[in-house]
Symmetry: C2
Subunit: 135 residues, 2 copies
DNA sequence: TGAATTGTATTATATGTCATAGTACAATTC
DNA sequence: GAATTGTACTATGACATATAATACAATTCA
């Protein structure tokens, strides 16, 4: 599964945040399901070409958000929650609402926002496939 | 005008970014109009309780974005562009589109996004009056 | 004209985050 | 018992942020 993950080591976005987003993404796409094991900290770090501490930081934050859980000596797994995907989607919705609120406070009209949403869902998007900032 | 600006010196959001947002906000609200003078770097810094270099950095970036312009010996002014407010509003729309695209890629439905937009414009917002991240 | 104010540039220092490197330990697996 | 697992800790370097201090050219203004 780690072969599905590509990190941009030159980005100013922290590696651990990129990793968090990628893992969440795989859960949303169904590539990772509740109970599935994640790679061990050390081997994952080796495969990704980063430091084990960086992977551990990503795991720790994801665990704090109840997206994964770890057991010493066993490994790290996707949380056993049937509402996991919904929870992650709701995070995205909250980000949208934050951006909309800022736009509203800048006197952007509701109609302008709706048409922007239409544009995105019409597929005419530059910058497809970007990962989001976390928290 | 600088009395209208309150900075959070303890925030992890850089001061110069907060200042950029606040100035843009005042332009959008009509408190600052094209041609209006901004406070001098030194006096502004004194009033805000920050270092002059921090104010200068905010001014420099705003000038790079054609929102303000500076003249040595004279001062710093709001750009003389009749489309300034529209330009700033369009920045907000772009932020919304980015967030919507991420949500879409997380298989959030268009209907869910639309209802989120409705919620924001209905006024039932927690976290009102926040300033946005820039660039 | 000369002093004050303006934006601008530069160097130095301190702090916090990010990332790497290395080591160590307890729990589990095999 | 050896290997693997998560976890914790210290140390180091790179980088962004912010402050401090100084200097200079252009403009303003008394």
């Amino acid at each position: 599964m780690d072969t599905l993950i590509k990190l941009d080591l030159l980005s100013r976005r922290p590696i651990y945040e990129q990793l968090k987003s990628k893992i969440s993404e795989l859960v949303l796409l169904g590539e990772l399901k509740p109970g599935d094991a994640l790679p061990a900290v050390r081997s994952f770090a080796r495969d990704l070409g980063v430091n084990p501490n960086t992977v551990q930081k990503a795991y720790q934050e994801l665990e704090r958000e109840n997206i994964i859980y770890s057991v010493v000596g066993r490994g790290t797994y996707i949380s056993r929650s049937d509402k996991l995907a919904d929870q992650l989607r709701e995070q995205q919705v909250q980000r949208v609402k934050s951006a909309v609120l800022l736009a509203k406070n800048s006197s952007v009209t509701k109609e302008r926002i709706i048409s922007a949403v239409d544009e995105v869902f019409s597929g005419k998007n530059h910058a497809e496939g970007e990962s989001q900032a976390d928290d």
